[in-house]
Symmetry: C2
Subunit: 402 residues, 2 copies
Amino acid sequence: MEYKKLFSETATSIKASAIRELLKVTARPEIISFAGGLPDPNLFPSEQVAAIMKEVLEKSPKEALQYGTTEGQKCLKDALIELLRDTEDVTAKPEEILIVSASQQGLDMCARIFLNRGDAIITASPTYLGGLQAFAASGADVYGADSDEHGLTVEGVEKCLKELKAAGKPCKFIYVVPDFQNPTGTTIPQERRVKILQLAEKYDTLILEDSPYRQVRFEGTAPDTFLKLDQGRGRVVTLFTFSKVFVPGFRLGYIVAPAEVIQRCVILKQAMDLCTSPILQLATAAYLKGGHLMSHVKEVVDAYHKKRDFMLQMLDKYMPDGVKWTRPEGGLFLWVTLPPHIDTQKMLDAALEQNVAYVAGVDFYPPHNARRNDFRINFSYSSFEQMEEGVKRLAATIKKSL
Amino acid sequence: MEYKKLFSETATSIKASAIRELLKVTARPEIISFAGGLPDPNLFPSEQVAAIMKEVLEKSPKEALQYGTTEGQKCLKDALIELLRDTEDVTAKPEEILIVSASQQGLDMCARIFLNRGDAIITASPTYLGGLQAFAASGADVYGADSDEHGLTVEGVEKCLKELKAAGKPCKFIYVVPDFQNPTGTTIPQERRVKILQLAEKYDTLILEDSPYRQVRFEGTAPDTFLKLDQGRGRVVTLFTFSKVFVPGFRLGYIVAPAEVIQRCVILKQAMDLCTSPILQLATAAYLKGGHLMSHVKEVVDAYHKKRDFMLQMLDKYMPDGVKWTRPEGGLFLWVTLPPHIDTQKMLDAALEQNVAYVAGVDFYPPHNARRNDFRINFSYSSFEQMEEGVKRLAATIKKSL
């Protein structure tokens, strides 16, 4: 039968993630893939997870295996309130926190509670692909603001806000990935954060802060979160996740936002999936209460720090002149820029022929804003050997295109 | 700050679930609650779950704790294909199955891929509240079709389809909970299913079959699923879940649908939450492969069968004349109808004063279709003692209202 006429605008307008489609190709064992955004599975604390699962199922089987509250299990929220206080100097109340099935659900949820089809938002250009997907599913009109080696620029944001104001089109929120942004690895400095927040106030809009990598900092001093800078004035909605510092397989994250925003999210989550898995919430709460998180984060940071250093060395060693890349202070990604005449999406076939993969930059740009000469490299997943060999192959591919 | 102007139509139009709000009140220990839809936690196979978790984390820690594919883990899909063949005589291909975070996510997903704001669908009246919530979040215009003691009537469905056709408004799908429906406990007989499916074909629409309770059958013969009756013609999308026959705390379910529909769901799921927790998928696959499910289902069926029998006895024994109720052949719920002049929502305060709770029928009706003199009773959660005492209290409350 003919389904097309039955599908919604949402179904016909959203596109498959280039990355998740590409991952199917790169699953071939001969390919060295810098394309995914996967944490290094050798770092997963699987024995600790097993011990904690045993404990949770012995102590609280009925709570762990039953339906949970939509808001999230109390023990996890309590642990998160402590974590936010200790690591971010942020005071959050239980009604300002919602447990979600990782940040991606938070993005989808925020898109749905704030956006009608055609509503405008501002993002960095380029920005996180999964954010663009969630915003597209709600029919967002995405305005890409300029960014440089320090991420989103104040001028870029203000230009977009002015244009939108002149067009009589309110900006629903400004989406930022302030720390070690996916895809570029850039971090927005403190004073830019202050100014962007002031712009949000001036133009009466919100900041949607997506912070999956924040704890993965190798060096330098962390600027404050937008959440902290807001000082409870209610202009910031922040998404955190355990995917990068604990395990992605738990699909656990949390939203910190004004109570009124959380309330709407809770009602929507009732319709979306009733609740996030209690057993995984209890296990994560036990992990946090056991004091395991911060020592594990240190391990992850040390490992990715070495990998980033090695990746930078390899790029220095093998890349031809005319190729530039970012030097992220943390996170999982860096961003490579080629001379303007090279289209990295077209070059991808040649790279795959050389058995090496990346994600073409074009996939990270909001519509109509794309540059075509950059690509993203992940440095958390591959081994040192794979990194050296992969960069060699990439360099050879690029040399042919120069 | 003023958030109202920033919220979307979705955020302002959906309502909190009456049940989930009520559950907050009924958490008080002195209240006997027939309001929730919770499985009996004494039946959870927590020791088996602990053993399986241990096994999964020993054998496949890297797969269990890493990101998964959006489509679902292969081992679970393989086990589901077998399960569908063995228990439902249905042949499904991997590309016709999507693992979701329980049925509620399947409902939300189907609402989003099929519905634009204002699009029409048909449901039974009354029907599952969480379905109505998910459809409302997508702005559905819900047409409630008549149902009787055997569920949705053929005439009721055809009347709605004719009206919609006359109004030039296509029906996107017909939503059915064919087995032991929530809230009424009714089951649609085989020949009605055949005729409703024929109507779907005649009016060129889909059946959205939601089947969370199907395996919880106490007596009688199961009619075929709509999925089986469709014989691969592609008119049926079916949602199954493990919440009622294994554990709800895993939040695991699956959609079986034509490949073209699954494809759209997969792309949307990328934006919704990337994937459902791999560790819970691997554990469920191991549970299925170990052959544990069917013996556990038998245990659940035996336990709820006894509870249903006891609940029926208690209703017989204590309820005053003029009160009627359904006699479900399975599931978790039955439906009580009072004389027409009694408003069960108004009576709820009096019931809560007597420390007993139910869900007023009005919450299960599509807009504009509500009757006000019935309510839903859950019989899976309470103990026998609570059932007797609770029904006594309920009967006393009703007598005062007669």
